[in-house]
């Protein structure tokens, strides 16, 4: 095994799809490097290009431009050598096999699979071992698919929205197992649109929006960036420029008598606002929605593209 090669190396990958409404630039130049042993979240709202990036990373979709290397190899070679375990976003299981059968048949395609019973135990589906796949619930199917991804004992585990169909209990068991897996020094890359998941389970997050990497860093950094709060209030005749200069305020917007302040520190901003304008009323403070925060972070994009 090439020791110094990154587990994942994406360089300038791009993908454009044709659609009746014209070309869709799903991924527009993504560079990501992940070291062996890292647990990285690929974070972003729906339509950010996460799945397309993962498809290119795994060689399921050919990139229009750029290069992909997994553990110093092409994706096809890494897969052939059995170094990759993956759970794709969409997928079901062929019917007429039991859970144990389907997990073990996949394991048998690899050189050094993990013991099937151990995996079923780990994922919390040991009691389903003899059940036929067509009799599983959505959440159970997801867990079997996860078992399929880790029975292969891979060096790199790639998971695309793994908890999408899981219930709370399933999610909990899933992340516990994922952590145990990562603790063995394996590399994990998972896509999610939940900031909480990235924050709780990844060392690092790569935030994507509209086909680009917006932020790549420790999860705490991302949280600070998208953790903006918004103050709304009614304030006739407000001077927006002055409002924007208040402590804790990042930007100020107004429509008629209503004002909207985006704040990095909403507590300080509210105090300053009420001190300067005691007449302000109908105050409302909201945490910026994740989607909203993404929009904020990527607002520059459209102008740039239009120009």
């Amino acid at each position: 095994m090439a020791i110094h090669a990154p587990a994942v190396s994406l360089q300038g990958i791009e993908k454009t799809f044709r659609s009746p409404e014209g070309p869709v630039h799903a991924v527009r130049g993504v560079d990501v490097s992940i070291d062996p042993g890292e647990v990285v979240a690929l974070l972003g709202p729906n339509g950010a290009g996460k799945s397309t990036t993962i498809d290119m990373l795994l060689g399921l979709t050919r990139a229009d431009a750029g290069s992909v290397a997994l553990l110093g190899r092409t994706p096809a070679d890494a897969i052939k050598e059995g170094l990759i375990g993956a759970m794709l976003q969409i997928g079901s299981l062929p019917r007429d096999l039991t859970v144990r059968e389907i997990v073990s048949v996949i394991g048998s395609l690899y050189r050094a699979p993990v013991d099937v019973d151990e995996v079923l135990q780990q994922v919390g589906i040991a009691r389903l071992a003899e059940r036929r796949t067509q009799k599983l619930s959505g959440g159970e199917t997801q867990r079997v698919r996860f078992a399929i991804a880790i029975v292969t004992n891979p060096e790199l585990l790639v998971l695309d929205e793994p908890t999408a169909a899981m219930d709370v209990e399933g999610r909990h068991a899933f992340w516990t197992t994922m952590r145990e897996f990562a603790a063995r020094g394996k590399t994990v890359l998972f896509a999610t649109h939940y900031l909480e998941e990235a924050d709780a389970y990844a060392d690092r997050a790569v935030l994507m929006a509209r086909g680009r990497v917006v932020v790549d860093g420790p999860t705490t950094e991302i949280k600070a960036m998208v953790g903006l709060r918004t103050i709304r209030a009614t304030l006739p005749g407000a001077d927006l420029a002055a409002l924007a200069r208040l402590p804790g305020v990042v930007s100020a917007d107004g429509r008629g008598e209503a004002i909207v302040l985006r704040c990095s520190d909403s507590d300080a901003a509210v105090r300053a606002l009420l001190q300067a304008h005691p007449e302000a009323r109908d105050l409302e403070i909201t945490g910026a929605g994740f989607e909203e925060a993404f929009m904020e972070l990527t607002r520059g994009d459209d102008e740039e593209v239009a120009a």
């Binding site: 096999l97 690899y110 698919r145």
Partner: protein
């Protein structure tokens, strides 16, 4: 790989639809049609006894169904996203395809074995050589159908699969003379151009002659090449797109 073949086979044998259509149905029909005509030594001027003719005819019917649906099952795997999942394992697309064909042939052999046993209970007696020759011809004659299955598995959706496979098998069976020999006229000309006709003709081994002749080989090989090229195209298109 060996494990994968085994599980594919298990999957097929647990599939009720397959067991009914490829194993049960031909067997029951065989007894229903050939049973009452057990003593007919020349069925419809074919020169072959009814039990033998119908044994091969229904074996052709059952194996056609088995082999076409063997490839067509790829459509199910595709609709489930299972082919994508397999693409992420060391199992190569080529091995996946080979497994489908192998399993299709294994199930076809089961159908043949079942009908051969049924045939002997109705008095079919052949020399060892004739049995081997007949089964070999059936297996070769199934090649175009295996390729057809792969084409269907790549171009059809799951919804259209059942009617397409069922309809095609039924049509090819009737025109191939599965149920009753087609010896002359316009239908005979049409039948001779179809691979299913030659599948059924394998029953002529008993009369000692060469059951296929040049035309039989020509038709079978041509269909194999044409459908094989189409199957290769469908397969390549699919592996590039995934």
């Amino acid at each position: 790989m060996r494990n994968y073949v085994r599980y594919e086979l298990v999957r097929v044998l647990r599939n009720r639809r397959f067991v009914v259509l490829s194993l049960g149905f031909p067997l029951v029909l065989y007894y229903l049609i050939a049973g009452p005509n057990k003593n007919e030594t020349d069925l419809g001027g074919s020169g072959v006894s009814a039990p033998l003719y119908l044994m091969v005819g229904l074996a052709a019917f059952g194996t056609m169904n088995a082999v076409i649906s063997g490839g067509a099952r790829i459509a199910f795997d595709r609709s489930l996203g299972w082919t994508r999942q397999l693409r992420l394992t060391p199992l190569s697309p080529r091995s996946y395809l080979a497994t489908k064909i192998l399993v299709a042939y294994l199930t076809a052999l089961m159908t043949i074995a079942l009908l051969a046993i049924a045939g002997t209970t109705l008095g079919v007696r052949l020399s060892a050589r004739s049995w081997v020759e007949m089964i070999a011809l059936l297996l070769v004659g199934l090649l175009p159908f295996a390729a057809l299955g792969i084409v269907l598995g790549h171009v059809l959706t799951v919804d259209s699969l059942g009617p397409a496979v069922g309809g095609l098998t039924a049509l090819l069976s009737i025109l191939g003379g599965v149920w009753f020999p087609i010896n002359n006229g316009f239908l005979h000309a049409v039948a001779q151009a179809l691979p299913s006709y030659w599948l059924v003709q394998a029953s002529h081994v008993a009369s000692g002659g060469r059951p296929w002749g040049a035309l039989g080989w020509f038709v079978t090989i041509t269909w194999t090449i044409v459908l094989g090229v189409l199957a290769a195209w469908a397969y390549r298109r699919d592996t590039q797109r995934v």
